[in-house]
Symmetry: C2
Subunit: 211 residues, 2 copies
């Protein structure tokens, strides 16, 4: 029997390595689909429409808002970013577990519209380790690193809003742990109504000697 | 940091194989402890006090009830059976995940006293398979098999009271699946308060440049 997919919202401090975890998770298991955001920002070099983002103009984005075609959206630096509902629902109907990588405000909006969504917060093993990872990239200025650390301190206040907290200590372990917690979420009885009903019918039939 | 253990209540149709799954789970991972029930029934050959059961007389059992020393208890065939609270709490405090194998009425009583307990229902892949397993043992009369099938049909009505439903199709898979869902339960933010508080303190200290 084909199960409907689960919507999984993943948040975590910027620079903590959650992008790498998600990429590896999706490469490894065929049952996941990464949600593709819609944006009005211009494509950067190498970015592909429909893969990196769905690139649209402002009018199209606002039409999509009005048509309730977005699960959540926000505006940063004069550009819109949002999560198209159609793609997410199609993938879930096809049995895929759809992963959205968004920050906490977006995560809470998704939970309102999809109360069954699984909210996962990925966290580095320590604040020192977060700083080390941000610094190790060698591509960020001290100012950017400080800003990200300050943002992490703010985001840490919202962790209780998530269903699960996963520590990203080791990539391999973290990927397998993510896969485990999502598999576990599939075991809730309300996600297996058809199977339970079927078992009841079969048992009753056997007890009544109809088989 | 040492986590407090989780209380896991496992139920399932009699004869479905959950005993084998629990035994293998405990053999394989050191973080589990199987709760030992207290009973007034006489020990059978080979049963050891403190391993199979805590064997006590009726007076001692009733004293334990009065002292609220049991998480749940029931009476079958003039004998008492119950779950001693002290053993469960000691093991959980020592960081062990404690597994209770009890039927649904007991499971619901445990959930009342330990709202954080994880209730897991283990189910065979089909009613036909349950019947096959009951028959394959070769040790039960047709009457016993029929009674167990009828009991299974009743128990199936209560599955929604459980947090998780696991299908016991293959022993190896079922053991690993059990371990995964229990690991996932450890990831709830309310089970990681100290870790979250610590991260907040560390982040704030680093942002304020105290480190």
């Amino acid at each position: 029997m084909k199960h409907k997919g689960i919507l999984i919202v993943v948040s975590g401090f910027s620079g903590a390595g959650k992008g790498t975890v998600m990429k590896e998770l999706i490469n490894r298991y065929p049952n996941y689909a990464l949600s593709v955001s819609m944006t009005t920002r211009k494509p950067r070099e190498g970015e592909k429409d429909g893969v990196s983002y769905f690139f649209v103009d402002k009018a199209k984005f606002e039409d999509t808002i009005v048509a309730e075609g977005l699960i959540e959206y926000a505006q940063y630096c004069e550009n819109y970013y949002g999560t198209p509902r159609a793609y997410v629902e199609e993938q879930m109907d096809a049995g895929k577990d759809v992963i959205l990588e968004i920050e906490i405000q977006g995560a809470l909006k998704v939970k309102e519209k999809f109360p069954d969504a699984l909210l996962v917060f990925i966290m580095p093993p320590s604040a020192q380790e977060l700083k080390r990872r941000l610094t190790a990239r060698g591509t960020e200025t001290q100012e950017v690193i400080d800003a990200r650390m300050a943002r992490a301190a703010e985001e840490a206040e919202g962790i209780e809003a998530y269903d699960l907290l996963i520590v990203d200590d080791d990539l391999e372990e973290c990927v397998e742990h993510m896969h485990s917690v999502i598999s576990a979420a599939h075991c809730r009885p309300d996600r297996n109504k058809a199977m339970i009903e079927n078992m009841r019918k079969e048992l009753n039939a056997l007890v009544k000697g109809e088989k």
